[in-house]
């Protein structure tokens, strides 16, 4: 290795230019003439595609051009001299424009001298102001368009002829075919000093170089052949393509030189054009892609770069990483939201570099002495000279003696280390957060449930990735800005994205709604899992036997931070009048000592739920992320313990309703159907009056939909009258834990109208949806109204309509995800280089201002309150409370 490889250089300028045939030959290490690669003994043939002068790919050999070994020799280009010129596929559009812009005989650009002088001035001006290549190219395109429109050469008077382009590479002049040779000759005639009119810098390019006379052959390092296990050689796709080019080139040359008929030469010429075109881009429209013997299309130059699997997106923008792990996730409600459970085998594979100093040398030696197979051990030591030594059971004693200050020990991942944890698709910044490690038994990553919403994770087999941080700066950043607790409030809407879900909400609701009482054993059990340290407060109730009871509200109050003053309606809130009776309005105030008390209302989704929890939001905002994390950990544990103590289950019999209710529901639905029938009759009789802006048919549909929708709601209302808060399913729906009242009314009442494309079901046979109905029946049943409930079961026709609606939903989600994914990608590509500076302006990487103040108001939505920097209402509230 030579020194120059280590000297960093700054790129000052990049210039794109065309390669001239002379340049191609000059940079070529050898001319390639034979299509064969290796001879019978397996040695590369001289002047073949695997010529040893093109670089080395086999270890041990030296490059014939530069004398360096594998990995040191960068490879060297060769070249093929084409028997006849061919068009470069990438420039066809430009060639067409240029051919049209220049005179077909004298070769001058068809613009008047005054116009040329103006263009000259403009070009100089652009160069002075911005030197933006886009400015040049868009201006040059307009100048070219002007010249293309001129019908007669202002210099020699030749009239222009119409040029058409037969995709991909055939040019015709008023029907007569132009050969690449003719095109090249015409382009050659354009004088150097006129090239700027075509948008070409004559210092670095000539238009005729877009018609190839020689083809560079990339070094073998670019197209390495692989030796299969069987000993056979398998060549790269590019090599295959170059073989094709060479074969045809050779035949074309022979035929031409021996004076073969024009027809044959032309055919071969076209074939050569085809091979060169597909060599550049095998997906050129208008020609069939070149295929491998197996029928697979070849991956040629453009395919290597393009698309998701191309060089840019796959290798340059995206790289594979070390120190990462992936496995299935499962829940653990007893670790903190900040933590992640890591299985021991993973903890012993991932390592953290630990620089040995005089303070930690004993610790470091401890890791080394335990070696790679005992948990808090180490896998490698790195000497101060950079040499990595693997620790094995056999050498750990000798290594132990060597470890001194200055060594780096790569120790196993341990409790408390901070790692990055991620679930794909990574749609927002909360998709990758910093977690503290907890090494555990088992084979899965463990996460606490409140962090599921930001990751959008569940445990039906989801896998997640973990990245072990290697540097001190990264570790500090992860701890300070990426830790889970720093992301409780979302920058999207300023509310919490991390919060209680499912059973946490049912549990805290059951515990805190109305006056749920617990005896001392239960109360202590619930509190034992929280961070609360202190005695039980005064009991709320003492019964005749002297047994003391505490209310759920009082127990819950113990985990609240001090100094809270907040009130809001809970999820079960209906009306002001009923809120007292229902206990549905949450009031939390603090006493003289500052301790907070839950005075009324249940703690449900509106308080602690992810996306909705006002209480979580308030605590994080006023008491900081650390207290917020502690509160979330405490609430979820209290809720889980409470729900386990009280017991909670649900089944389909929860949707049972009394016979009389069923009777009433069916009457309501029958009535609605009858009403629909009348509407249809009116429609058929021409008595229906159309709504403004709607046709008669549309009016009918609207009326019917409205009637049936109302009937479904009525049925649901009747059903829910029998489903009170004693019902577990109702508790879950009303408290916001899971499901909705609509789900319940569909189970016990009626499923309702099925829709495809937002309309009643219309498709099927002529004039009817299914053979079960009469032709032109517009009634409720015939167009997809499902009268039955899920509990009762669906009739065959209803089942069919329901499947139609269900299928539309599935297709919609599938289509939506792919479409929104692409939209997101475009959005991110457009925004990725923007950042907010310390003066609150938003600028891109070239320093252009995008916004003069971030979001017009300079407020971080995650820190402000509903887009205000300060929560005025809250401040007033607090002052008023204090005044009383």
């Amino acid at each position: 290795m030579t020194l120059y490889q280590y000297i960093p250089k700054k790129i000052g300028k990049i210039q794109f230019a065309l390669l001239s045939p002379e340049e191609i030959r000059k940079m070529s290490a050898t001319k390639i003439i034979t299509a064969d690669t290796y001879d019978d003994d397996g040695f590369p043939i001289d002047m073949g595609l695997m010529d040893p002068r093109l670089g080395v790919i086999e270890p041990g050999l030296k490059c014939k051009t530069c004398g360096r070994k594998v990995d040191e020799c960068p490879g060297h280009f060769g070249h093929i001299d084409l028997a006849m010129p061919v068009i470069h596929e990438g420039f066809t559009k430009l060639i067409k424009e240029m051919i049209q812009a220049i005179c077909r005989t004298c070769g001058k650009v068809k613009l008047s001298e005054e116009r040329i002088a103006k263009v000259r001035a403009k070009v100089d001006e652009i160069g002075d102001i911005s030197y933006n290549p886009f400015d040049f190219s868009s201006y040059a395109a307009r100048v070219r368009a002007d010249a293309m429109g001129v019908g007669q050469c202002p210099y020699c008077g030749e009239t222009s002829r119409k040029i058409t382009l037969d995709k991909p590479t055939t040019f015709r002049e008023e029907g007569h075919k132009l050969t690449p040779k003719e095109i090249r000759e015409r382009l050659e005639r354009v004088p150097d000093e006129q090239l700027f009119l075509l948008g070409i810098n004559h210092m670095v390019a000539r238009p005729e170089w877009m018609v190839l006379t020689s083809l560079p052959v990339p070094p073998v390092t670019v197209r390495p052949s692989i030796t299969l296990e069987s000993g056979d050689r398998s060549e790269d796709d590019l090599t295959h393509k170059l073989v094709d080019v060479l074969r045809i080139n050779q035949r074309l040359q022979e035929n031409r030189d021996s004076g073969a008929p024009q027809l044959i030469v032309e055919d071969l010429w076209e074939l050569l054009q085809y091979h060169v075109t597909t060599y550049f881009d095998n997906q050129t429209s208008g020609i069939p892609p070149a295929r491998h013997r197996s029928g697979r299309p070849l991956k040629t130059l453009a395919q290597r770069l393009k698309g998701k699997e191309g060089r840019f997106r796959s290798n340059l923008s995206g790289k594979r990483v070390n120190f990462s792990a992936r496995t299935v996730i499962s829940p653990d409600p007893y670790i903190s939201i900040n933590e992640v459970g890591v299985p021991i085998p993973i903890a012993m594979e991932l390592t953290v570099p630990m620089r040995v100093n005089e303070f930690n040398i004993e610790q470091a030696r401890g890791f080394v002495s335990r070696g790679p197979d005992v948990h808090p051990g180490a896998n490698y030591v790195i000497r101060p000279d950079g040499q990595r030594l693997r620790i094995t059971d056999r050498n750990k004693e000798t290594l132990l003696e060597k470890v001194v200050v200055g060594y780096i020990v790569e120790r196993h991942l341990m409790d408390g280390d901070i790692v990055l944890f991620n679930r794909q698709p990574s749609l927002h910044r909360m998709s990758m957060m910093g977690h503290e490690v907890r090494v555990m038994d088992g084979k899965t990553f463990r996460i606490n449930l409140p962090v599921c919403p930001p990751y959008n994770a569940d445990f039906d087999g989801d896998e997640m990735n973990l990245h072990c941080i290697q540097g001190e700066e990264a570790r500090a950043e992860a701890r300070i800005i990426m830790r889970v607790q720093e992301h409780i409030l979302s920058p999207r809407f300023g509310g919490p994205v991390i919060g209680a879900i499912h059973d946490h909400i049912s549990g805290s609701f059951l515990m805190t709604h109305k006056r749920m009482l617990f005896d001392s054993e239960e109360a202590l059990h619930i509190l034992s899992r929280t961070s609360y340290r202190g005695p039980l407060p005064e009991p709320d109730e003492v019964d005749a036997n002297g047994v003391e009871y505490w209310s759920g509200k009082k127990i819950f109050s113990l985990i609240l931070p001090d100094g809270l003053n907040i009130e809001y309606p809970s999820s079960i809130f209906t009306t002001e009048e009923e809120s007292e009776e229902e206990d549905s309005y949450v009031r939390i105030t603090c006493d003289e000592e500052g301790r907070s008390h839950l005075l009324s209302g249940p703690i449900d989704e509106k308080s602690i739920g992810a996306f909705k929890g006002k209480l979580v939001e308030k605590i994080v905002r006023d008491h900081g992320t650390e207290r917020g994390r502690q509160f979330l950990d405490d609430v979820t544990r209290v809720a889980i313990t409470a729900i386990s103590l009280m017991g909670f289950s649900t089944g389909i019999d929860e949707e049972d309703i009394p016979e009389e209710a069923k009777q009433r529901i069916s009457e309501t639905l029958d009535e609605a159907e009858a009403r629909v029938d009348t509407i249809v009759q009116n429609y058929n009789a021409g008595l229906l009056e159309s709504l403004p802006g709607r046709s008669l048919k549309e009016t009918l549909e609207v009326e019917v939909m409205r009637t049936l929708g109302r009937a479904r709601d009525r049925a649901g209302q009747i059903a829910s009258r029998y489903l009170g808060l004693k019902n577990s399913a109702v508790i879950m729906a009303r408290s916001g834990a899971r499901g909705s009242m609509l789900n319940l009314s569909q189970m016990s009442g009626s499923i309702g109208q099925q829709a495809v494309r937002g309309e009643r079901i219309q498709r099927g046979y002529q004039g009817r949806t299914l053979p079960h109905f009469k032709v032109n029946d517009l009634g409720a049943q015939a167009k997809g109204f499902v009268k039955s409930s899920y509990k009762r079961g669906l009739k065959p026709t209803e089942y069919f309509f329901h499947s139609m609606g269900g299928r539309e939903g599935l297709v919609d989600t599938a289509v939506r995800t792919s479409r929104s994914g692409y939209m997101q990608r475009r959005l991110i590509n457009a925004l990725e280089d923007l950042k907010v500076l310390s003066d609150r302006t938003v600028r891109n990487t070239s320093g252009v201002i995008i916004q003069f103040r971030y979001g017009e108001d300079g407020v971080d939505p995650a820190r402000g309150v509903r887009s205000d920097a300060v929560d005025y209402g809250d401040i007033i509230n607090n002052v008023l409370k204090e005044a009383i």
Partner: protein
């Protein structure tokens, strides 16, 4: 055809051409030169309505529900620079 004044519409924010001194002051507060300003085309209806010419800087005063009034500046250009 009667001439339509876009500036009269209540949804169109106030556009005004800045004086040279104002521009210099604004540029120095942001520590930038003219090339770093957002652009507005000379044939933009608002730019035409206030009679701006290339090189002028236009101040746009937008009403914002959260920020009261927010200021934005654009430099008048003759043509698009990116294709």
């Amino acid at each position: 055809m009667p001439k339509f004044n876009v500036m009269a519409n209540h949804l169109v924010p106030r556009h005004s051409v800045m004086t040279h001194d104002e521009v210099e002051e604004m540029l120095s507060t942001y520590g930038i030169d003219r090339t770093k300003l957002p652009k507005i085309l000379i044939n933009d209806p608002c730019a035409r309505a206030i009679g701006a010419s290339p090189g002028d800087v236009i101040r746009i005063e937008r009403k914002s529900p959260t920020a009261g009034t927010s200021l934005y500046y654009r430099i008048v250009v003759e043509e698009r620079s990116v294709p």
